[in-house]
């Protein structure tokens, strides 16, 4: 700014709100004496139309190039005055405000001292004004497409919502089929909806939607670009089965000589090395497990290839890398269960009749039986908080949020399917916090379910049965009972690879290692990186209802983000003076939003990502990085 600053100061009475405590005439007098001040005026209400007109006229009349409004908080009227200044042909960023009301007249009563403070505040603004620069908000076209990482119920819902809104969606799933954890469940609480019956139609919609492209056996391996224009590298590991050709007839699996434990059935059943994850899998095609396939391990066999009528098997497939251009993305990577083997007192892994809750879901669908001998269990124990709400080494401090209702659901299902069977629930606190949950719990109390408040000390294999030792903290006595089946509710933990993904995407993990939202209540699905959102249990334990609602919220946020076609951001961002910068990279590490990047021979500030916080500025040993129009 080579021209001399010509400053106009406009002081507001605010109808007595300011003028009763601050002697505005004296402030005006003082303001006139400051360097570069061309005009100083007091007005009854600067924000009113006549007040704004006075500013506009003064800009024209006195050729003002800086305007200072001393009135209320900038939080109240900054935009009003910026608009007024803009309509008079002055850059809106050449306006500054002085907070005479909220931070002076309203908090002080001594008129003399308050006036002194007001003068000082105005003097500060006048001194500051010559460093203001005209700025224009940056805007950038966005790619109107979205990436969804993880094809569980959260990913499916986000993808469908976004695709229905008209955006191109890429759904990347690491497993051979979409569906996620929900596809493994039998029934859902509290309504006993069949999980597959409500999920699989949605999976089919995803597969058939013209705006959704599904990549299975695929993982995100790289991220470049800026919010609104991300470039994502996706690695697709070979399935060894050609997707368009496979008709899922199953001929190959009958001929395959190798058996392996089924991942979908949680190891309770065996399947072949060429397998379909489950009957309703999307895409509905077989896949070869390289860890077990004889051709992959020993280089022989290829029987499946000979028997496949549609010639769908291809052992020559290589790792494929694709680049996707997306404006925004949803991280819905879901959860894992903690391995109960780490808690040796529960005998998990030592006795086949100790199972996890998800294994119990599979047992329900297979027809409830004891994994050891196939008999029908008559007495089942449900152990809650296995690893949850524990500060011990292997435990997690948070609540899994679904364990209580899940156990109630299981106990009711046992009661329904096996006449005369008895269920015992060992709980810490019964948490029934959602719509219809308390009623659901009350229903279980009317049935043949015993509720014991207490954590189980030990599960001891006892021949065909299991002895559970616990304390009943309500009755204050010890319990030792024999059960046919023991079901553990393990803690929920982030899925494997969460940390690597968070580093790649540049988003934060919370202390619980789940993805961290910006604000617990107000910005629950946003991450610190613009354009990247989270949904479902990737953010923390929650049930299906909450997950679907959150996914729709995420889709809505993305539609808002992409919907304008371009994003505009405040121009008050960091900039680098290349002649001073020695590329030490200190600021790159300091940046909270990964907005500063090291290019070959210079530092680049991504103006879309930069939030203008200025945390980088004091760390620069050379004083090469600075903020525009801000201290």
């Amino acid at each position: 700014m080579s021209e001399k600053p010509r400053i106009g100061v406009f002081i507001c009475h605010c109808g007595g709100n300011i003028s009763d405590t601050v002697d505005v005439a004296r402030v005006k007098q003082a303001a006139k004496s400051f360097e570069n001040t061309e005009v100083a005026e007091t007005l009854e209400y600067v924000c009113s139309n006549p007040g704004q007109d006075t500013i506009k006229n003064a800009i024209k009349e006195h050729k003002l190039n800086r305007v200072i409004v001393a009135s209320c908080s900038p939080r109240m009227h900054l935009d009003t005055f910026r608009q007024a200044v803009k309509s008079a042909g002055l850059n809106p960023y050449l306006l500054d405000m002085v907070n005479l009301r909220e931070q002076c007249s309203w908090v002080h009563s001594d008129k003399e001292k308050a006036t002194g403070k007001a003068i000082a505040l105005v003097e500060g603004a006048v001194a500051r004004a010559k460093y203001l620069e005209p700025l224009t908000p940056k805007s950038m076209k966005v790619t109107e497409s979205a990436l969804v990482i993880g094809g569980g119920i959260a990913g499916i819902y986000s993808a469908l919502e976004l695709a229905d809104k008209g955006y191109q969606v890429y759904l990347v799933e690491r497993n051979p089929s979409i569906g996620g954890r929900m596809s493994q469940l039998s029934k859902t609480f509290p309504t006993f909806d069949c999980s597959a019956c409500i999920l699989t139609p949605k999976m089919v919609s995803v597969a058939q939607h013209p705006n959704i492209k599904v990549y299975t056996n695929a993982q995100v391996v790289g991220l470049k670009g800026t919010p609104g224009n991300y470039e994502v590298k996706v690695k697709i590991t070979p399935r060894n089965v050609i997707l368009g050709k496979c008709t899922a007839c199953g001929e190959c699996a009958t001929k395959c000589p190798v058996k392996k434990p089924s991942k979908y059935e949680e190891g309770l059943l065996q399947e072949k090395a060429i397998y379909i994850p489950f009957k309703q899998a999307i895409p509905n095609a077989y896949v070869i497990d390289k860890e077990y396939c004889l051709y992959h391990t020993r280089g022989v066999c290829r029987i499946c290839e000979k028997f496949c009528k549609s010639k769908a098997i291809d052992f020559d497939q290589k790792d494929e890398f694709i680049d996707l251009k997306v404006g925004s993305m949803v991280v819905s990577t879901g959860y894992n269960l903690v391995d109960p083997k780490v808690f040796s007192n529960y005998s998990y892994g030592l006795h086949p009749d100790v199972v996890t809750s998800i294994q119990f879901e599979r047992l329900m669908l297979q027809g409830l039986h004891k994994p050891s001998n196939g008999e029908v269990p008559k007495k089942v124990a449900f152990l809650l908080c296995v690893g949850s709400r524990q500060t011990t080494e292997n435990g997690v401090p948070y609540c899994c949020k679904i364990g209580c209702m899940n156990a109630v659901k299981h106990s009711l299902l046992v009661d329904k399917s096996i006449p005369g069977a008895e269920s015992w629930i060992f709980y810490t606190d019964m948490r029934a916090h959602g719509k219809g949950y308390e009623e659901f719990y009350a229903k279980a109390r009317e049935h043949n379910v015993v509720f014991v408040r207490g954590r189980v000390a030990e599960v001891i294999p006892n021949g065909n049965q299991l002895t559970v030792r616990s304390e009943d903290t309500i009755l204050g006595k010890q319990i030792e009972e024999n059960f046919d089946l023991v079901v553990l509710s393990p803690a929920l933990i982030p899925t494997t690879g969460t940390k690597e993904l968070s580093e790649m995407l540049g988003i934060d993990l919370g202390p619980d290692n789940f993805f961290l939202e910006v604000h617990h209540k107000l910005r629950g699905v946003e991450t610190k990186r613009e354009g990247i959102f989270i949904a479902g249990t990737a953010q923390g334990p929650k049930d299906i209802r909450e997950t679907t609602m959150e996914s729709m919220a995420t889709a809505s946020k993305i539609a808002t983000f992409l919907g304008r076609g371009e994003i505009s951001v405040s121009p008050e961002v960091a900039f680098v003076s290349p002649e001073k910068c020695n590329l030490c990279g200190v600021c790159v590490d300091q940046c909270l939003t990964k907005a500063i990047k090291m290019d070959k021979d210079k530092l680049v500030v991504d103006e879309i990502s930069c939030i203008g916080c200025g945390v980088c500025v004091p760390t620069c040993p050379k004083g090469a990085i600075d903020l525009k129009n801000s201290i």
């Binding site: 002194g116 403070k117 945390v615 004091p618 903020l627 201290i631």
Partner: protein
């Protein structure tokens, strides 16, 4: 030299330093004298909003407290504190919003560094304090305004020879750059 300003204007060579001073004018105006002089650097979004909210509720605090809005308390470096104390500050507060990405532990880390640096020139570390606040917690920062002003009044002004040392340090730093 910054290319944004005409090279002929020699004063602009020290532009960042001058700018820091201009910002502090709010606290050390020639016409709005106050004693003691206390600067509260307040993060512009949440914490500044909390200060506004206190104003709306007419919660009074000493006029010696001068608020300067900053984008984040992390924006402040040792430079700002050197200038502040060299030019007449007797106490400095750094207030950050609780929901800021610049977290409390990072702020503390920086404040500890600043205190160490200022202690070299003999400025007591009790003259600097940091705090984080949420929007409705204005009482928390206003209570600090009261107690901090009280503390600084008891401690008395910073001795003028200490201010001279700080000024020398600032000039030394500018020359070094």
């Amino acid at each position: 030299l910054s290319t944004k300003y005409p090279a002929s204007d020699a004063a602009f060579a020290f532009q960042p330093a001058l700018r820091a001073q201009s910002i502090l004018k709010t606290a050390f105006s020639s016409q709005g004298e106050s004693s003691p002089k206390i600067v509260a650097f307040i993060e512009k979004k949440t914490a500044y909003g909390a200060a506004d909210l206190g104003g709306q509720n007419r919660r009074a605090y000493p006029t010696e407290m001068r608020i300067i809005g900053v984008p984040s308390a992390g924006r402040l470096g040792i430079k700002h504190l050197l200038h502040a104390f060299a030019n007449g500050a007797d106490g400095v507060l750094l207030i950050e919003g609780d929901d800021s990405m610049f977290k409390e532990d990072k702020l503390r880390e920086r404040v500890i560094q600043m205190k160490k640096e200022l202690a070299k020139a003999g400025v007591e570390s009790l003259r600097i304090q940091s705090i984080t606040t949420t929007l409705p917690q204005y009482e928390k920062i206003f209570a600090l305004f009261d107690s901090f002003t009280e503390r600084i009044k008891k401690m008395g002004p910073v001795k003028s020879e200490k201010r001279e040392t700080l000024k020398k340090q600032i000039v030394g730093e500018i020359i070094a750059k």
